[in-house]
Amino acid sequence: MREEARYQSNFTSKLAFYEFPIVLVAFAFVAGVFYDRLTTATPLPQLLITLHFSVLLYGLSTGAFAFLGKELVDRRFGAVNFLIAAPTTQPIQFKTTTAAFYLKDAAYYFAFTLSPVALGLALAKPWAPYTYTSVVLLWLAISLTFSFGLALAYAFSALYLRSRRLFTAFTLAFLGLLGLAGFTAYLPIGYLIPSIQFQLTKDWLPFAVTLGLVVALSTFATVMVEETFESVESQFSESFRAFTARFARLGRYAPLVAKEWIDLKRSHALTKMVFSFAVPLLFLSFSIWFLNNALGVALKFDTVFYAGNVGFFGVMIYSWINHIDITEYYDTLPVSVPRLIKAKLIVFFLVTTGITAFFVVLMSFVNREPWKLAIALPVAFATSAYTVVATAYLTGLRTNTYLLNGPIIARFGLLTVPPLLAIAFLSLGYDLFPALALQWIAIAVGGMALLTLYFFSKIDGRWAKTTFQRA
């Protein structure tokens, strides 16, 4: 935990590290105060199931520790070393440090994300009709669901490193069980994710079962962690010159973009990025479809809604691009931080434009509304450009770190959530008031385009005096 706190507060401050949970408390408090309205719009059981699905996704997305262990050893983090890499020099097993890393991350997420949410809801109690006991139960239940997702991802990632076939088989089996739970009466969803059963029935047996599953999956994953991390010497024929020529029309950005492009290819990050971009989108689509069709939660979103989301998820790609390699050597070269940020933005657009268009077109056909593409595509590109340029303006080259900084995440929320919500509401109203909605969508797209240019022009001023050093 100390390592995590020091790493995350490395570029900001200790205070900033602790501001992130404070922001979460505030958000949960507001949700608690508006509990009545929320439960009027969506019945409580459906709201709880949706919450558990989100938390499960959160756990799954943060749980790939076995991958991470290998990455941390394989890749150089400049001057930064983590305890997980200690077995390379110390008489300690990778299994032990990986398990410790897992427990540390679990503790971090409980302490700094799930508990603040429960605290915010508890603080809102005087204005809300629920009891403190129900807040405690919710905290226990979502902690369990999160742990389940975390342990599941940990186990699957460990399995993946041992056998791709077994990984595929288990993943398909889990998805099959999810389908069985959603669409048949043979397997209630609470049986597959017992913490949901605990939440809905307050029966302690499912609680114990989930706990047992978490322990079993974590133990299995730890046992499966490999002890040998052989370093392979990779060789590649010269291709920088060809890529620089390919990007020649980008002028002085050409060598930087060529270098970033080679990084993407050789680190295999391109595949992971496409996955990290596509998986949340597919999961979002699947969740909405699952909640609609399997669990009867009434949510109806159209292509324009998905277009807004596809733009928003682009932040993850930008974050990935910033996380592939160290940047300290740029301090020895005549390159400024703003110039590299802009080069990375160019790479972002090269990577995402095709995927964004593909996903929006796909969703328009899934929703049987291809005529909405004329609206959805501009929405997707405007949201994508606006979100990523605002993120680059706010976080520079350290997106992951700064997005855990309270004031930065608050500003990020203020800049990105209102346009996203506006697009979501306008997309919901489109079928009722098409002309009016279209007019306001055009205004939103135009506004985002102007703000994109504004933030792009401000990147120089904000980051000109920054160096490439980590600390």
């Binding site: 060789q235 920088f240 270098k259 080679i262 592939i324 050597y329 301090d331 005549p334 390159v335």
Partner: protein
């Protein structure tokens, strides 16, 4: 004294919990092989970072090649070569690609000729297609040195340039640096290897705890059977004793 290529006046740098530099002043004459020495924590690397525009000073000012490092960073970096304290070429470029990358960023035209020259110099031709991340520390250091020399700058900043190099390449780099100074270049070097430094430096600055203890031409440190290493150890021990007495 020839025209100074580096001028430092009352330079201070404070970090949150420490003062790295405490109002230091000195000049580096053009054409000097200037050695900056001091124990760990003396403030040498902070000084290099300020002089190369990587850090802003808390107080005082510096001029390098007539430019202010914190205000004219890019023009300065175009005209200097930097070898940082820890070797860190990009992970996913090969040796030959990184040198090509550096040449492109520096607007060099005769790229091939220069790259071949430096790969040969460091015997990296066989490893030229290996990713930098998969190279040994010594090889990475060679790449950083080559990338600092390749554009023939008038001034080099070298922070521990001999670290991770075996004796053969230490000698080879040392000889190149001496030749470079004779050909009109200037060097600002920080090093702990006083045996090499004593042989090549023309001017010296000894620092401890952010202060200048002494400085001047190397000849003033020789004589009476002592050399640079003796003077250095004597001064640091005296300074340590004074600090303990405080």
């Amino acid at each position: 004294m020839p025209d100074p290529i580096i001028e430092v006046d009352g330079l201070s740098k404070n970090y949150t919990n420490a003062q790295a530099l405490n109002g230091i002043s000195f000049r580096v004459p053009k054409g000097a092989f200037f050695g900056c020495f001091g124990p760990n924590g003396a403030g040498k690397s902070t000084l290099v970072k300020i002089l190369t525009g990587q850090l802003d000073p808390t107080a005082g000012q510096a001029k390098v090649l007539g430019l202010q490092p914190n205000a004219e960073t890019l023009p300065l970096k175009r005209n200097i070569g930097i070898v940082p304290e820890s070797e860190s070429p990009p992970s996913f470029l090969t040796a030959v690609e990184y040198l090509e990358f550096v040449c492109r960023l520096r607007g060099i035209s005769d790229t091939d000729e220069r790259i071949v020259k430096w790969l040969d110099f460091f015997d990296l031709t066989e490893k030229q297609d290996t990713l930098c991340k998969d190279m040994s520390k010594g090889m990475r250091q060679k790449i950083m040195l080559a990338s600092a020399f390749i554009h023939k700058p008038p001034l080099l900043f070298l922070d521990e340039p001999f670290i991770n190099l075996d004796p053969i390449y230490q000698r080879r780099v040392r000889d190149f640096l001496v030749y470079y100074v004779k050909a009109g270049g200037s060097i600002f070097m920080c090093s702990h290897i006083l045996e090499i430094a004593g042989k090549v430096c023309t001017d010296v600055l000894i620092m401890d705890r952010g202060r200048v203890l002494t400085g001047g031409p190397i000849s003033s440190f020789r004589g009476n059977g002592s050399d640079l290493a003796d003077t250095f150890l004597e001064l640091i021990e005296k300074q340590g004793g004074a600090a303990r007495a405080d």
